[in-house]
Amino acid sequence: MSSAPASAVPHLPFPPPGEPRPFFWTRDQYHRMGTLGFFVGRRVELVNGEVVEMSPKGWPHVVGCRKTADALDRAFAGTGWVSRQEPVVLLASEPEPDVAVLPGRFEDYTGHPETALLIVEVADTTLDYDTTTKAELYATAGVADYWVVDLAGRRLVVFRDPRPVPDGGAAYRRKLTFGPDDAVAPLAAPAAVVAVAGLLP
């Protein structure tokens, strides 16, 4: 399960509240500095007010992303469209999930999506981050179905049922783990059968 959750504005229990804290980037500032060329050549996303640099893509990561995108394309044909490492606007953040399924038709969108039917992160070296910080973010944003493809462990971790927690923010109440012989149905496409083996290199 995800660790202590955070609200959209970072809540830092330590050091004491008056201490210097990391500069909190708004989406507007992030875009403006991007436009001025500050992030040229770097792969970044905005998570909880922090500009995060994504790790270089290894080949297993590329394979996992492509296979997952193809599988979900088939599963959601007619109900949603699939994006790959493109911005999704969630609260004050702008992550670029490895794979996202967005409702409706791509043609009907005029800006970055702000809700997702399913978000998938493919974890090569980022398993900790994807199952904690990213899980908190997606739970707080109300994403009902969040999957992490654990490449090293050859399994699929499914987070569901986001609920508010006393501290502010939210956490996923259910965490399910599936192996290569299992199949999963996305919450928003319950008739589809997605074989875990089909997501793994």
């Binding site: 201490e19 500009v51 995060v52 640099e53 090569d124 980022t126």
Partner: protein
């Protein structure tokens, strides 16, 4: 009473094994960000490539800063200049923005560059005591600043850090080996101006 301690070892500033890291800025890029106006409403500093915001100045901080500034300008009259909340670089990724720094030479010597060494650095700690006595202490020690003072407003005392030495191999950092805690009635003088004795109370609001 002088107490010799080593400041706590810092967190190693290497990318975590988690495969992601906070985007890190060089001092140059950070200053370029500042010139876009991004930091107009906040007071910031750069520590190990990460940007931090600090509480805006308030009366107790301003008074301690003003008193110490005035006194430093009487303590150092020739061969050094006093810098008040001006640039000070440590390596390529640290712009700790010290409250006060006493630097060799005249201010004109730094018309086109930023100093990387000072004979004395003073931080006024109003709400930043933790950072000032840990991360910043390590930073100034690494820069070889021989004399680092923290005016602890809340507890009305002066913390003096001296004798920077490299920590055991592998940590890649430096620490102050000597730490003094002085109360309002105690007297102190900068290592680089031993004749300029001041009572700690003279630096406090």
């Amino acid at each position: 009473m002088p107490v010799a301690t080593i400041t706590p070892p810092p967190k190693p500033s290497v990318p975590s094994a988690a495969g992601w890291q906070a985007y890190r800025w060089t001092i140059t890029a950070y200053r370029n960000l500042g010139s876009t106006g991004l930091f107009d409403d906040v007071k910031t500093m750069l520590i190990d490539g990460e940007i931090f915001t600090m509480v805006m100045p308030n009366p107790p901080h301003d008074v301690a800063l003003g008193l110490t500034d005035s006194w430093l300008r009487t303590a150092f009259t020739a061969g050094h200049h006093v810098r008040n909340q001006m640039g000070f670089d440590v390596g390529t990724r640290n712009g700790p923005e010290p409250d006060l720094a006493v630097v060799k030479g005249s201010i004109r010597d730094y018309a086109t560059r930023t100093p990387t060494y000072a004979v004395l650095v003073v931080e006024v700690a109003e709400s930043s005591l933790f950072l000032d006595t840990t991360t910043k202490a390590e930073l100034y020690a690494t820069a070889g600043v021989p004399d680092y003072w923290v005016i602890d407003l809340e507890n009305r005392r002066l913390l003096v850090f001296r004798d920077p030495v490299p920590l055991p191999a592998g940590l890649g950092a430096t620490a102050y080996r000597t730490r003094l805690t002085l109360g309002p009635a105690d007297a102190v003088a900068p290592l680089a101006a031993p004749h300029a004795v001041v009572t700690v109370a003279g630096l406090l609001p």
